[in-house]
């Protein structure tokens, strides 16, 4: 009883973690299913059909590729624009700081349906043709804020003494940036880009409003939900999940080793940012 009380938080915590993975397990298990009707909702019979024939259903793979394209382009642009803003916010003084902060905070506090609708209202009034271009514009818009927040946190967590030391050793501003600041901020920028890609790849609501006839992977799933989602979609989602998890775990591992080797070789451990 005493043991139970002491470990109650742990037990509930682990239970919540397991709960988070229940739908993932369902998605994975059903990717090996051979549904009896058109809906892949209940287990019927083991089959590898979806895995051996990933692009077997028309539209699945093309929408998947479209989503990757959109994700890559929007992530690159948003990461550059967002990192620049983060640098300006942390390192420079300028007028209109509170308006800038508000403009960065609001997109994260606005329901997607409102952002999607208002952007569509703009495009409709301008008679701007909907398609891949408008979806990319929309994605860049909502990713920027997340990039700013992530990169800004990294910049603020940096020990200013490392840059001071470089200046003391007669590095010119460009060299300080090239050899000290940038390498230290890079993990934050990479993290922001990964987050941005994940947000773009999985976005449905804003994309659906501004896509016109374009079909992204989530839009494909939405359309298929009415007439039965093909098993291939589950297989592709499983692949995306595993690949993303591997990338994040590798990043974690590299980061930890880097920090450990840095800590032992260059600077005392307590001088390094904790994040």
């Amino acid at each position: 009883m005493r043991w139970l009380r002491r470990n109650l938080v742990g037990i509930v915590g682990i239970a919540v973690l397991v709960y988070l993975f229940v739908p993932i397990a369902v998605i994975m298990v059903l990717s090996f299913n051979k549904p009896s009707g058109k809906y892949n909702l209940t287990w019927n019979e083991f089959s590898l059909d979806a895995w051996t024939n990933l692009c077997g259903v028309p539209g699945v793979c093309s929408s998947f590729v479209t989503s990757i394209q959109i994700g890559v382009i929007s992530t690159i642009v948003a990461t550059v624009l967002g990192s620049m803003i983060a640098f300006a916010l942390v390192r420079y003084r300028f007028r209109g700081r509170s308006t800038t902060n508000l403009l960065i905070f609001l997109p994260m506090a606005t329901p997607e349906v409102v952002m999607g609708a208002s952007l569509l209202a703009l495009f409709l009034n301008l008679r701007f043709p909907l398609g891949e271009g408008t979806v990319i514009i929309a994605h860049i818009m909502f990713i920027i804020s997340f990039v700013v927040v992530t990169v800004k946190a990294r910049l603020q967590g940096m020990d200013p003494r490392l840059e001071e030391a470089a200046r003391d050793l007669y590095a010119n501003p460009r060299a300080v940036f090239r050899y000290v600041t940038f390498p230290l901020v890079l993990p934050g920028i990479v993290g922001a880009a990964l987050l941005g890609f994940a947000l773009s790849f999985d976005d449905f609501i804003i994309s659906f409003f501004n896509a016109g006839t374009l079909v992204t992977f989530p839009i494909y799933i939405w359309g298929a939900a009415q007439r039965g989602i093909p098993v291939q979609v589950n297989a592709l989602a499983t692949i995306v999940f595993v690949v993303a998890l591997l990338i994040v775990l590798t990043a974690q591992f590299v980061n930890q080793r880097r920090r450990r080797s840095l800590a032992t070789s260059v600077v005392p451990a307590d001088a390094l940012p904790r994040s």
């Binding site: 997109p107 606005t110 409102v114 799933i221």
Partner: protein
């Protein structure tokens, strides 16, 4: 111990070290311009669209107007959906807070060297498609499924089923936005010095009192950020209502989407979006006032 030392070094990165030059504005300009053109200005066009009037004889075409009556007619038709959205989102947020707190607490205070791995596990489910995860709840909550039949055996379900009821929609909302609750809670809890909680114990506070008087107040910034980050997307969501609910569980997002894309009734859809945004902003600002955390960014 750890917290004290770097803080002294960090002080020099505040404005004194900041440069004031044209570079700052140049760095700022492209991104801010993007947000101004594609986030701020669309609100103006949204408002103007909400006041447009139909052109007679041409369905789906509208002319510039000042039809404030659009708001009255949109609200008259859809106010129950507004109420339902905020009720569903409110319940989902409270449940999310209750189940997220123990996990965030566990990671922050008992996680040890597994902390970052546990945090990866919290966000990992988001790597699988949002729509597909929501769809998976159809399988989990199915009428013949374990959950539904168990609850039915205990006579706990008023309708005898979960799927296609409000319960399924709230369950979906709670699940989908749970990581947005866990992460800010963790960030706030992680900053708490465990010695403060120990001190409360040393001064004969029971664990419950120590939690109520020390841990909970100190975690307040995380509670505020988490509830906002859960409530706002939940209130505007229509995927859960569309996939897990019936026509009787439609939320305001469903109405906006259908009016915009199917009916091409742009003024009504714009009016609804504008009202939704206004209500959310008012709620957010009163909530932040009352909860007392001003700096969110």
């Amino acid at each position: 111990m750890v917290a004290v030392v770097p803080a002294a070094g960090r002080a020099s990165s505040t404005p004194s070290a900041q440069k004031s030059s044209r570079t700052g504005y140049l760095l700022l300009f492209p991104g801010i311009a993007w947000l101004a053109v594609f986030f701020a200005i669309p609100f103006v066009t949204l408002f103007l669209t909400s006041l447009q009037k139909p052109i007679e004889g041409q369905s789906g075409r509208y002319a510039v107007g000042l039809e404030f009556g659009n708001y009255a007619s949109a609200m008259a038709e859809y106010w129950p959906l507004f109420v339902r959205s905020f009720v569903y989102a409110g319940i989902a947020t409270i449940i999310a807070l209750v189940i997220a707190y123990p996990l965030a607490y566990f990671i922050a205070f008992r996680g040890g060297r597994w902390r970052s791995l546990l945090l990866v596990l919290v966000i990992a489910p988001s790597f699988a498609s949002f729509l597909l995860r929501t769809y998976a709840w159809k399988t989990i909550l199915a009428d013949e499924g374990i959950i539904t039949s168990t609850l039915n055996a205990l006579h706990l379900l008023p309708d005898g089923r979960i799927l296609n009821t409000g319960i399924a929609v709230v369950a979906g909302l709670t699940y989908n936005f749970l990581p947005f609750m866990i992460l800010p809670l963790y960030a706030a809890l992680e900053k708490i010095d465990p010695r403060l909680i120990e001190a409360a114990g040393d001064l004969y506070a029971s664990p419950a009192t120590a939690f109520r008087k020390v841990t909970w107040p100190l975690s307040m910034p995380g509670v505020v950020a988490g509830t906002l980050l859960t409530f706002i997307p939940a209130a505007g969501d229509y995927i859960n209502a569309a996939l897990l609910g019936s026509t009787g569980n439609r939320m305001i997002g469903n109405a906006i989407q259908i009016n915009f894309i199917q009916f091409r009734d742009y003024p009504t859809a714009s009016a609804l979006s504008f009202v939704l945004m206004a209500i959310i902003l008012v709620l957010v600002f009163t909530y932040i006032r009352r909860a007392g955390t001003e700096d969110l960014v």
